[in-house]
């Protein structure tokens, strides 16, 4: 892809690096141990979380806590994915004070697929298209009011038959 705005990216990187450095030095804590509000505002890309193989490790890296299943989190995913390369998955929730939503696919080589920051005023509902390497649990995690909630659905992925 073309780089269309060099100045923008360079400045952004500086700010990111600067902010991260200040945060680390100023508070002397790993960033994921901070209060939810700060974590949501922090601009840092969760590189560590994207390195974790398992969903449990990815969630721990992202949020520093575990999630409890909640029927207030509605995960919409197909029974059998038309194709593992493009699986439409969406979530909505009635929980209040949502600050972050993440999607994970347990059987993917990297479990964490996407993590979204929800500033105040943004509706906690997202639709996206994800890759699934094989039949797996799809897990959505919602951070609301400082706590973590989840919903899971098993989605089957098959190899195409006539799709040569």
């Amino acid at each position: 892809m073309t780089t269309t705005d060099h100045r923008f990216s360079a400045t952004r990187r500086l700010i990111l690096q600067g902010a991260a450095t200040v945060a680390l030095i100023g508070l002397g804590n790993p960033w994921f141990g901070l209060a939810p509000a700060y974590a949501a505002a922090n601009d840092k890309y969760p590189e560590e979380a994207f390195r974790q193989k398992s969903d449990a490790e990815a969630i721990k890296s992202l949020y520093g806590k575990t999630a409890e299943p909640s029927d207030k989190v509605k995960l919409d995913a197909p029974e059998i994915a038309e194709n593992g390369a493009v699986v439409p998955v969406s979530v909505s929730t009635t929980l209040a004070d949502v600050t972050s939503i993440s999607f994970l696919v347990a059987e993917n080589p990297v479990a964490l697929v996407a993590s979204y920051r929800i500033p105040a005023g943004t509706v906690p509902a997202i639709a996206n298209r994800i890759k699934m390497a094989k039949t797996s649990n799809v897990i959505v995690v919602v951070e609301a009011g400082g706590k973590l909630y989840s919903a899971t659905k098993n989605v089957k992925v098959t190899l195409g038959g006539c799709g040569g």
Binding site: M1, T2, T3, T4, D5, F8, S9, R12, D43, Y45, P46, F50, A85, V86, V87, S90, V105, N108, P109, V110, L112, V113, A114, S115, Y116, R117, I118, P119, G121, T122, V123, A125, I126, A127, N128, R129, I130, K131, A133
Partner: protein
Amino acid sequence: MASTIRVRATSSGETTEVQALIQHPMDSGFVKDAKGEIIPPHFIQQLTFEYDGKPVFVADWAGGVSKDPYVKFAFKGGKKGDDLKISWIDNKGATDSTTAKIQ
């Protein structure tokens, strides 16, 4: 070169719904080509939507997101005719951004 970002932002009542489709290979780095060699990872890492100078939605992505990625969300606020700024940066440091008018 034309932007890689396609946006549809529609305001209805108090909420603005946003859909974005971005042209990007989103190579995970786990797939081999016809010769058996790994196709190196090449994916958008961060995608930001800004309204009125503030982020209304930020996506942290990696290779698990589909090629030509799509996302839909909504935020409170936004009026017809207002600007919505969208920008992304990928793992190679490439960037793209565009400004769309809310319909």
